[in-house]
């Protein structure tokens, strides 16, 4: 199985996202911003009210994660993905603010998915419960905002060779849906 390497600096390149197809295995290299329930709610509230947010989301990638505290000598504690669907209602606002892709885990269907397709956003799933290994693919972790939210703070994370699978691509295919149909016993 071949792996597509996706690398970006300040923002993700549109043409790179265009090339991805549902089911592609990828390795991600670049900066992502973390978000969870409380982070997404606060970002969305600020954006809706026209108030400033701590970082620009233009051409950015969000990672649904709330890491464990680092042990001495660690950059970050365990840092696997959390369920994306819990934050789905906030995503249209975050897409409008410039978010181009989301890394998380779990399924998105119906309205949750159509938001991605309408905005041309890509959904990557990382492996849930891979926290100890995925922490090793994060080379820096800094709080970029909302520090009071603790594990739900907005972190700026540098990821390298971070493994994921394309679930929703820009053509509107959903790999969770097609994979299940392919493997279901009738």
């Amino acid at each position: 199985m071949s792996v597509i390497h996706l690398t970006w600096n300040t923002g993700v390149n549109n043409a790179d996202l265009d090339r991805l197809r549902a089911g592609d295995a990828v390795e991600l290299n670049g900066r992502v911003f973390s978000f969870r329930d409380a982070t997404a709610a606060r970002l969305t509230r600020a954006l809706d009210a026209g108030e400033p947010i701590p970082v620009s989301l233009e051409n950015q990638i969000l990672y649904a994660v709330g890491p464990s505290p680092p042990k001495p000598g660690q950059i970050i504690g365990s840092a696997g993905p959390t369920t994306t669907a819990r934050m789905a209602r906030f995503l249209p606002t975050l897409f409008a603010a410039g978010v181009r892709a989301v890394i998380g885990k779990g399924e998105l269907h119906g309205d949750e998915m159509s938001g991605f397709v309408k905005s041309g956003a890509v959904y990557f799933a990382a492996i849930g419960g891979l926290g100890a290994l995925l922490a090793k693919q994060i080379s820096s972790a800094d709080v970029a905002g909302y520090e009071d939210l603790g594990p739900e703070a907005l972190y700026s994370l540098e990821v390298s060779a971070f493994p994921a699978v394309v679930i929703i691509d820009r053509t509107g295919r959903n790999f969770h849906e097609t994979a299940r149909v392919q493997w279901r016993r009738r």
Binding site: M1, G23, A25, V65, G66, P67, S68, P69, P70, K71, G77, S78, A79, G80, T82, T83, A85, R86, K105, G106, E107, A125, I127, G128, G129, L130, G131, A132, L133, A135, G150, P151, P163, V165, F175, H176, T178, A179, R180, V181, Q182, W183, R184, R185
Partner: protein
């Protein structure tokens, strides 16, 4: 003969268990994942299972939390009725143990004091859910679990009626797993609780999901139903992490209890592949 136990012993045991549970996946689950690598037909599924096994090996070797979601502490105790607890509050000792272990083990604090989120700040956290069964004798057995919420959120309970029967139990299990899909972090463990009252069914399902995979139900008919449900769940095609494949679940465990002649409560509690549990005796 009354046996005196200082609650400090309970506190220190809980503090040790929460750390060990979060660093070391139970042997039976790790073995089931290794076996699943050999049985999974989908390439992406196999690769996913291999990475999960590697994650557990690295977490154990380097003493790291297997998952950032160290969950809600579920503490189930069988307490001999001849035990007397001294030195403080039994419940507070468990809470203290959870607080101590969470801190010393660098585990994420994942509990909010107020589920409605209306209190700000939400203080006074009770960071554990505690279930006590009183049994004859003077022994104490603790089963500790760190229950992550990816799978917990996808659990379900339904009050059926007697005429619905085993067919309804089967369909409800399949529907719950299918709806959960990748969200429950498959390959999952399926705990099914049948009988009692509304809350009994849920507690039975929790006990079922925490039963080791190599322990089958002693009743032959239920043991067969467990095997049949596992095969049908694995026919759903969800596969490891919902990426498609044959291994959606590692096991289906059923627990039953007598119920009303008018009822058939059924609860399905899902456990992710990282269903962290550990036992100890005092």
């Amino acid at each position: 003969m009354i046996r005196e136990i200082d609650v400090a012993t309970l506190r220190d045991t809980v503090a040790r268990l929460i750390v060990e549970a979060n660093y070391n996946i139970p042997d039976d689950i790790l073995q089931a994942l290794r076996d699943a690598v050999a049985r999974e037909e989908s390439e992406i599924g196999r690769r996913t299972l291999e990475q999960l096994v590697r994650n557990y090996e690295v977490a154990a070797a380097e003493r790291l939390p297997v998952c950032q979601d160290s969950g809600v502490a579920v503490v189930m105790l069988e307490v001999g009725q001849d035990v007397h607890w001294s030195g403080g509050s039994f419940q507070e000792a468990i809470f203290e143990g959870v607080r101590d272990g969470t801190k010393s083990g660098y585990l994420r604090w994942s509990v909010t004091g107020d589920p409605t989120r209306m209190l700000k700040p939400a203080g006074g956290d009770a960071p554990a859910v505690i279930h006590v069964d009183l049994v004859p004798g003077s022994d104490v057995k603790i089963t500790f679990a760190s229950k992550g919420f990816g799978a917990e959120n996808m659990s379900a309970l339904k009050m059926f009626v007697p005429a619905d029967g085993v067919a309804a139990i089967t369909q409800f299990v399949l529907d719950t797993v299918d709806r959960a899909g990748a969200n429950a972090c498959p390959p999952i463990i399926v705990g099914v609780g049948v009988g009692g009252t509304f809350e009994t069914a849920a507690l039975l399902a929790k006990k079922a999901v925490l039963r080791p995979l190599d322990v089958r139900h002693p009743r032959p008919d239920l043991c067969r139903l467990e095997a049949e449900l596992l095969e049908r769940v694995n026919g759903l095609g969800i596969g490891p992490q919902g990426l498609g494949g044959r291994i959606t679940a590692l096991g289906v465990n059923i627990e039953v209890y007598p119920t009303h002649i008018a009822g058939l409560p059924v609860a399905v509690n899902l456990g992710c592949h990282s269903t962290r549990r550990i036992s100890a005796s005092l």
